[in-house]
């Protein structure tokens, strides 16, 4: 795989955030499309009390402490907890030993030894194949693919092998590959172009046997990653890389898990349901604030969290309440996650729908470098979708 050339000792991931973003500026006139203020957004925990009050936390976590972490630090904290709790957990990938190109594995090799945290040769099909075999012999391997854009060489191992392992082993359950987690940075980052921006989740939601998880925040990343490592099903864990340093919130210090395949209602509302996940929840949140003010409506925001198998009952019950539905995601509209959600909503909520289900998603094209601001859905597009839903 060709990757952006790296200066030795200076990870390319870190460089992503140190540069100015020449392709990601906002015009001075923008009212809706302004940068997310991660310091005030209502979907992050800005106090330790609010983080520890999260209703899904275990008692131990709730009674412990919380500290401010960004997303990569939360991932690091989860990996560290998992490695400490279970000697069968191992972690590997390209360049992970020195801390990883996005710093997610800082200090792990020193703390847990090079037998458990180690570099792999540069081969994605090898990394995933290796992980499957280790899982089949009782380890709980966490494999890292450096960018989701480079997961495709491992597609065969994921689709034909990992996903089908339990099914084809039948009663030989000990040989199934539960315990396998494949982590990968995903999504747009402002200037990632074709091969550092992709969001290939819908390619995996078409694969029975795999769980696909995308967190939106540090607290969620830690809980969902620990749940994925504990899960006896193989998990694709996609981390929005634009949030690695941007999203900072209070994260409980203790180990805790958040439930897989359960959506979270981030904000209750009665007129429109917006379903999204990952980075775009921040845009949705901002769009909702503006739309509610301008249109006098009330919008419900749902974070899917697990993209497959997804929480159909929560979404259906929300749309049956509101009667309007918008699905928002970065990846292309064609056969994307939105298509599955929209079809399910149409089947289950037909008599309650007052407007067509809308999909606000990336256009059917590739991630051209200079065009990202016009391709990935933004606050304006979500705002406009709410307007259309209310005016229909």
């Amino acid at each position: 795989m060709h990757r952006i050339a790296r200066t030795p000792g200076r990870p390319c991931g870190a460089r992503f955030f140190k540069t100015q973003r020449p392709y990601a500026t906002h015009p001075a006139t923008a009212r809706l499309n302004v940068p997310t203020d991660f310091g005030t957004t209502p979907i992050l925990h800005h106090t330790s009390r609010s983080a520890l009050a999260h209703r899904e936390l275990s008692d131990t976590a709730r009674n412990g402490t919380a500290s401010r972490l960004n997303l990569f630090q939360a991932i690091n904290s989860a990996l560290s907890s998992a490695l400490r709790a279970d000697q069968n957990v191992i972690f590997f990938g390209e360049d992970v030993a020195f801390g990883g190109v996005f710093r997610c594995s800082m200090n792990l090799a020193t703390d847990f030894g090079s037998d458990r945290v180690f570099n792999m040769p540069l081969t994605e099909q090898g990394i995933v194949g290796f992980a499957i075999g280790a899982a089949k012999e009782g380890m709980r391997p966490v494999a890292e693919i450096q960018f989701a854009d480079y997961v495709f060489p491992a597609f065969d191992q994921i689709v034909n092998e990992a996903a089908k392992a339990r099914y084809r082993e039948g009663t030989n359950t000990r040989q199934a590959c539960g315990g396998l987690v494949i982590r990968m940075p995903t999504g747009g980052v402002g200037h990632g172009a074709l091969y550092h921006s992709q969001s290939p989740e819908s390619l995996f939601t078409h694969v029975p046997g795999m769980r696909v998880v995308i967190p939106r925040s540090p607290l969620q990343a830690k809980g969902l990653l620990l749940a994925s490592i504990q899960s006896n099903d193989p998990v694709i864990f996609m981390e929005p890389k634009i949030l690695y340093r941007a999203a900072v919130e209070y994260v409980p210090a203790e180990s805790y898990t958040l439930p897989l395949s359960q959506a979270e209602v981030l904000k209750e509302g009665k007129d429109v349901t917006i379903i999204s996940y990952g980075t775009l929840l921040y845009a949705c949140s901002a769009a909702i604030a503006a739309a509610e003010k301008d249109f006098g409506c009330s919008v419900e925001l749902i974070d899917l969290r697990t993209i497959y198998p997804w929480d159909r009952p929560s979404v259906i019950s929300s749309v049956n309440k509101t009667g309007r539905c918008i699905v928002v995601h970065e990846s292309m509209i064609n056969a994307g996650v939105g298509a599955e959600v929209a079809a399910t909503v149409q089947e289950a909520c037909f008599l309650r729908l007052e407007a067509p289900v809308q999909r606000v998603a990336g256009w059917t094209t590739h991630a051209g470098l200079a065009y990202e601001k016009f391709n990935i859905p933004d606050v304006t597009r979500v705002y406009d979708a709410v307007r259309k839903a209310m005016e229909y």
């Binding site: 040769p121 081969t123 290796f130 499957i132 089949k136 391997p141 034909n160 084809r168």
Partner: protein, 461 residues
């Protein structure tokens, strides 16, 4: 091994221990796994006659511009113990560690596999099962290699290794349950015929995609290596991975061998080089010296063996297993040469691409079963009467298992949707109910009688 123990060890494991003669750079060797690492500061020394680039250490400079030409090198030799007539070639060779009883078991296992192959090939031709793959000509590789392993060494196979399963304890009933997709098939009737698997026998279920098992086996070997380290007084195990010479062209072969070498995994890669991948002869598969020559490139100990000589295969695998367990774990590549006497599968007529006379020659002149039989006869432990008795009892046991499997029902219909995830999803439960309603509404359209429990098999337990 606690996290603290690991942490302490990881800090102290690497110690400077060797300065190799004639080399101006230092290696450090991990005391725990014997893995070598280069000391971090490597610089070209002034006036040195050798390259000190990090990517190729200890390479001498030369002023002679000469390409390394593979065809100018002679092919890697093929190890054998018996000649085609079953005679020991080198009388001074190490005495064979094999009892008469074990020899008879090995021989019987090969014969059972070959008889099952004949019966099941015909069964497929009669439409009794959907597919079959025979082992003819390669029985010795499976049985011989399996006999040199520990029964708990995990195995990853391709699909032409029935001899391994037979040696490990698969009886005709076990093979036939899988071939007929009966309720006794551990794979619950989900896989095509010959995709065997058994947790009890430490055999991972076979899958159709070629070579995918190779990097998986490396990962399994890494897990086994850690288990060996955690239980130094327990049985030290290796992983064994079988594949054909065609599968070795897949990218997963490259990935698997390179990882096994860099991660120092205790694994035996056993390549069955039988000359053909379906219709493709090796000349169109590769241009190097077979598969064995590639092992060297990955830094893997490699040997080529006569796959029609079961005793040679057995001895090679036995010693390779020792190598794989040395230095904390090392991969070994074994290329077992043979000839695919049979068609590729029941979906293939191999006379469309190769001469019948070539196949007949191999059948007549050299074959692992007859070679081993001659050796046993030479030793006076086998004769025509024993042969007749073995063949008749093998045939009887296969046919008995055949008749039973033919009668046995498939697993309950719900098994179509179970085991996709550890527990069924809400979506799957809805689909199961939907299917049940369809079958109930159109009873004339579906025959559920061949499935355990019939329609009730669609109920959630």
């Amino acid at each position: 091994m606690s996290a603290t123990a690991l942490r302490t060890r990881s800090l102290t494991r690497f110690t400077r221990s060797t300065t190799l003669p004639r080399r101006q750079f230092k290696q450090i060797v991990c005391q725990q796994c014997r893995q070598r690492q280069w000391q971090s500061s490597l610089a070209q020394r002034p006036g040195s006659d050798r390259v000190h680039f990090p990517g190729a250490l200890n390479s001498k400079f030369t002023t002679k511009l000469a390409f390394d030409r593979p065809h100018e090198k002679s092919a890697m030799p093929t190890y054998r113990f018996l000649d085609q007539d079953g005679n020991v070639v080198d009388q001074s060779a190490t005495a064979l560690d094999i009892t008469d009883e074990e020899a008879v078991k090995l021989y019987s296992d090969m014969v059972v596999v070959s008889i099952m192959d004949i019966i099941m090939f015909d069964a497929q031709r009669q439409g009794k099962i959907s597919f079959y793959v025979v082992n003819a000509g390669e029985e010795g590789i499976g049985v011989g290699s399996a006999s040199a392993l520990s029964p708990r060494d995990p195995i990853f196979a391709q699909y032409r290794e029935a001899g391994v399963l037979k040696y490990r304890g698969f009886e005709p009933a076990d093979f036939l349950a899988q071939l007929f997709s009966t309720k006794n098939d551990p794979g619950k009737g989900r896989n095509m015929p010959v995709h065997y698997g058994s947790q009890q026998h430490y055999i991972h279920t076979i899958s159709s995609p070629l070579a995918t098992q190779i990097p998986q086996a490396s990962g399994a070997a890494y897990a086994v290596k850690m288990q060996n380290m955690q239980n130094p007084n327990g049985e030290q195990r290796v992983v064994v991975c079988y594949f054909g010479e065609g599968a070795a062209s897949e990218g997963d072969f490259h990935a698997g061998l390179n990882i096994a070498a860099t991660k120092q995994c205790p694994i035996l890669f056993i390549c069955r080089n039988n000359g053909y991948s379906i219709s493709t002869p090796t000349l169109e598969q590769y241009r190097g010296d077979g598969i064995a020559s590639r092992g060297i490139g990955y830094g893997i100990d490699t040997i080529r063996v006569d796959g029609n000589d079961m005793l040679a295969v057995r001895e090679v695998v036995k010693q390779a297993r020792e190598v794989a367990l040395s230095d904390g774990g090392r991969p070994v590549l074994i290329e077992a040469m043979s000839y695919r006497v049979s068609h590729h599968s029941t979906s293939d007529d191999s006379f469309a691409y190769r001469a019948k006379v070539e196949v007949e020659d191999w059948k007549r002149r050299d074959n692992p079963i007859t070679r081993f039989r001659k050796w046993m006869e030479g030793k006076g432990i086998w004769d025509d009467e024993k042969e007749k008795e073995l063949r008749s009892s093998a045939r009887k046991s296969v046919l008995e298992a055949y008749r039973q499997a033919e009668k046995d029902k498939h697993p309950p219909l719900r098994e179509m949707l179970t085991d996709v995830y550890e527990t069924m999803t809400e979506e799957q439960l809805e689909q199961l109910a939907e299917l049940r309603e369809i079958v109930k509404r159109y009873p004339a359209e579906y025959d559920v009688s061949r499935y355990e429990g019939g329609l009730a098999g669609l109920e959630v337990r």
